[in-house]
């Protein structure tokens, strides 16, 4: 154990606030060996990022290390003063942050930022540090490094920026790298490349890596060891294979059970039973009062033909000099009544634009939309459009920005009812209370404001709002991407119930392939504005026809080593 790079022993981090002491990390232990990738996994608020910040001496005030020691190569570093910590930061221990779009200074070129760091740590001359910077960019896989070194961060794509961030972290030739959610903001194909790069660096340079993430797929594919945290405490630690394959602690078991599998289709996700966070969703009561419309004659509720959307890229007075960007290009598909239709694709593929055109939030630049055998795109009167809009409702990705912070929850849910003049007087409040009860929040939640709720609770408020007008068609745009895996399981269960008991038809947009496999009856794959392939979910996953679909599926984490305890379903 003498060659342990980083040894964290009994570490506690306290945040004293005016009312009480908040213990962010409680007596955590963790050790990293050279060349080892150590995963630190847990849900938001578990304290995993706090450990990273504590090791770096970058805790936000008034947070501080209350007890325990951090040893770097056997030497205690946790007691050092600010200047001592600064000498260690970057030089011996580097950090990679989550969002590559915000972790680079937008006003300095990539080269300036690299050279500044190299000069500071390695005391090289201007020319040497530039050469070293180019070498580093080349090492992390950036093409034409000698040219791109003079560019600004905004001229790089997200994945390329994360490579620059890694190059910056490598400037000082550190022994330990702490990577805090390094791939969470990236597409799955870019994620795979970045993780490969981190693995390669760890092996080649014998760097120890702490990989902080909430993504079990990343843990399973990348790490050698894993430590699971829950509410500031380490609940389980060991080799990745063992922790994921045969979890000992109840929390780990429930966490692993909530992870959507690409190969195992379950009817319902097991609720996270640890810590008493069960919620109930009373679908039968809701179904009793639900007005079901006449089914469509053709069986197809929504039909889209040659849908196209272009955005102006650079304007000009002369029409021929204007440049347009085609976000959605001739997309056609249809959704049968009562089914869940998924659209998958990477960021920028146009999947959200399709959803917004269907919701009439965007004007189309071509193509037709049919709903219940009527053409929506030719609806002229405001009354017809309103009636269409009442029947389709949307659930957005970010539960924090999709609810008006100045409105009370009951006002938020009542707003669509009032707008469409569906009910009057006390009946409105009655419906709001009922919906809040049904989504498991309780009617008293209506008196509160959105900020008093967690992400998962807010997403349930969004669902209640979407159900308020008793719609036929629900558009879910990445409804669980911002949520923890256990909360995701709850929300996905609710959506499954809605489809089953209320006969709702859904358009489900996601970049997460395992989730899509669990949720959808049929799937369309989009790439650069075009629909590449549409098929039944099982056929598509088992036997993809297009090269792009095959590539996407091959990048999907297999998660085969995960324990299947508590899951009921069929392995496919």
């Amino acid at each position: 154990m003498s060659d342990t790079l980083l040894d964290i022993e009994g570490l506690s981090v306290h945040f004293p606030t005016r009312r009480k002491l908040f213990v962010a990390v409680n007596k955590a232990n963790l050790a990293v060996e050279p060349g080892e990738i150590h995963g630190l996994v847990g849900e938001s608020g578990a304290g995993k990022s706090t450990i990273g910040a504590a090791v770096m001496g970058l805790l936000d005030r008034p947070g501080h290390i209350a007890e325990g020691t951090v040893r770097f190569k056997g030497e205690a570093i946790s007691g050092r003063d600010a200047e001592g910590m600064r000498a260690l930061r970057g030089a011996k221990i580097s950090m990679i942050f989550q969002d590559p779009l915000t972790s680079l200074n937008p006003l300095l070129t990539v080269g300036q930022q690299l050279e500044e760091t190299i000069q500071f740590h390695l005391k090289l001359s201007d020319a040497d540090s530039k050469a070293r910077a180019i070498e580093l960019l080349d090492r992390v896989g950036i093409p034409n490094p000698s040219e791109r070194i003079n560019q600004y961060p905004h001229q790089f794509s997200g994945g390329m920026r994360q490579r620059v961030v890694i190059a910056l972290a490598l400037c000082s030739e550190p022994d330990v790298i702490i990577a805090d959610e390094p791939t969470t903001a990236l597409d799955v194909s870019i994620q795979a490349q970045i993780l490969d790069l981190i693995k390669e660096l760890a092996r080649e340079r014998q760097t120890g890596v702490i990989l902080i993430t909430h993504d079990m797929g990343v843990i399973a594919d990348t790490t050698d060891k894993v430590t699971v945290m829950y509410q500031g405490e380490v609940v389980e630690s060991g080799s990745t294979e063992q922790v994921l394959g045969a979890p000992q602690h109840e929390y780990t078991k429930s966490l692993i059970a909530a992870v959507p599998r690409p190969t195992l289709k379950v009817h319902r996700f097991p609720q996270l039973s640890y810590g008493g966070r069960q919620i109930t969703f009373e679908i039968e009561d809701l179904a009793r009062n639900w007005k079901r419309p006449e089914p469509t004659k053709s069986g197809t509720l929504l039909k889209v033909e040659g849908l196209t959307k272009t955005f102006l890229q650079s304007g000009s007075i002369i029409p021929s000099r204007r440049k347009y960007f085609t976000a959605v290009d001739q997309v056609s598909f249809d959704i049968r009544e009562g089914e869940v239709f998924g659209i998958v694709g990477e960021s920028g593929s146009g999947k959200s634009t399709v959803a917004r055109m269907i919701a009439t939030l965007y004007q189309t630049n071509g193509g037709k939309i049919f709903f219940d055998d009527r053409e929506v795109t030719s609806l002229k009167t405001a009354k017809d459009l309103e009636s269409y809009r009442r029947q389709i409702q949307m659930i957005f990705q970010d539960p924090f920005s999709s609810l008006n912070p100045r409105m009370r929850v009951d006002e938020i849910i009542a707003e669509p009812v009032r707008h469409h003049k569906l009910l009057e007087g006390d009946a409105i409040q009655h419906r709001v209370d009922e919906l809040l009860e049904r989504v498991g929040l309780g009617s008293e939640a209506g008196r509160k404001y959105p900020h008093e709720f967690s992400g998962g609770q807010r997403q349930r408020i969004s669902i209640a709002r979407a159900l308020a007008t008793q719609p036929r068609f629900l558009i879910c745009d990445e409804p669980t991407s911002a949520l923890d895996v256990s909360i995701q399981a709850q929300i996905l269960n609710i959506l499954k119930d809605l489809q089953e008991h209320l006969g709702l038809t859904m358009l489900f947009i996601s970049h997460d392939l395992p989730v899509v496999r669990q949720m959808c009856d049929r799937v369309g794959v989009m790439r650069q504005g075009q629909m590449v392939e549409v098929d039944d979910t099982e056929t598509l996953f088992a036997n993809p026809q297009q090269a792009y679909t095959q590539e996407l599926l091959s990048l999907m984490p297999r998660l085969e080593g995960l324990s299947t305890e508590g899951l009921e379903g069929e392995i496919v």
Partner: protein, 326 residues
């Protein structure tokens, strides 16, 4: 970028044209200048003759065109009161105001940014909090009161600095400067502080709040995580990113330093264009008033144009016309 500059210059020209129209209308709507020019013993023939002489018998658009034609060449007509060309009077007075504005602007920007950065970095320090409290006084006290207080303390009680005037000046062609003589330097201290205090506190508070925002950004945390020195992080990474909104406000404030020099110049009897303007109002000297209005608007427009161009210099994201990766 070039199209942007051309567009902005054209916009500026339009603004000046409109201001010119307002300035010119003053001749027609603020009383009849003939009444002011001729005394009690005037004849109808005198009035008619002067009307033709001044071109006031011609239709409005023609008069406006002539006014513009003159204004572009620096000819704003003749002052009713002094009987000399307005351009000449302005040229004589402008250096005093511009020097005062430059010195107080420099004080406001340098001290304002310095204190702003300091109070942001030492967010909870005693000194920073004290500065923040005192700065409230600078924002809330009216300019003339500050001027009078300063005069009372430093000129009357302590007798260190003069209470009025510009001191000795040195002539460089048409430009006269008080910055090269001891008495001139002494004389500029109090008015410059009076004029710049409000802008200084404003800039300071703005820099502080912007800086606090930027210090929370990921790239600042990442710069710290790379072990860079606090000075590098604070000034190279954080300060530059606070500058874009600061420049916008500072630009507007510099314009108003020149425009609002009127009050300070009156309090300190500073022989600048502001004092000239106050005197012109008292005697309904319309050509002087109109010329002053034009001059101030040219400065405002010019400063705003410079501010817009500075954005390009500071923020590379604006330079690429959306050609970079999204």
């Amino acid at each position: 970028m070039l199209t942007y500059v051309i567009k902005r210059v054209l916009q500026s020209a339009l603004v000046l044209l409109i201001v010119g129209l307002v300035a010119f209308s003053m001749f027609r709507f603020v009383g009849d200048p003939i009444d002011n020019l001729l005394g009690q013993e005037r004849t109808d023939a005198d009035i008619a003759r002067l009307r033709v002489e001044l071109g006031l018998d011609q239709p409005f658009p023609v008069q406006y065109y002539k006014f513009l034609e003159g204004a572009v060449q620096g000819d704003f007509g003749v002052s009713y009161r002094q009987g000399r060309p307005v351009g000449e009077i302005l040229l004589e007075r402008a250096p005093a105001t511009l020097e005062l504005a430059a010195v107080s602007g420099f004080l406001a920007i340098s001290i304002g940014i310095g204190l702003g950065v300091f109070t942001a970095i030492r967010k909870d320090g005693f000194l920073a909090n004290a500065i923040m409290s005192i700065s409230l006084i600078g924002v809330s006290l009216p300019t003339f009161l500050i001027g009078i207080l300063l005069i009372y303390v430093f000129a009357v009680e302590l007798g260190w600095l003069p209470s009025f005037g510009r001191g000795d000046v040195v002539q460089f062609g048409w430009w006269s400067t008080g910055l090269l003589t001891a008495s001139g330097l002494k004389a500029i201290v109090l008015p410059a502080i009076t004029l710049g205090l409000y802008q200084m506190t404003l800039i300071m508070r703005l820099v502080r709040s912007e800086m606090l925002e930027v210090l929370r950004q990921d790239y600042v945390r990442f710069a710290r995580a790379r072990g860079l020195k606090a000075r590098t992080v604070n000034f190279r990474h954080a300060l530059k990113n606070t500058l874009v909104p600061v420049i916008t406000v500072t630009g507007l404030q510099l314009g108003s330093i020149i425009a609002f020099a009127i009050i300070t110049e009156t309090v300190f009897q500073w022989p600048g264009v502001g004092l000239l303007f106050i005197n012109a109002i008292q005697f309904v000297d319309i050509p002087v008033m109109a010329a002053y209005l034009m001059l101030i608007s040219v400065m405002f427009v010019a400063i705003n144009l410079i501010v817009d161009l500075l954005y390009f210099a500071i923020d590379p994201r604006l330079r690429t016309d959306g050609k970079g990766a999204h």
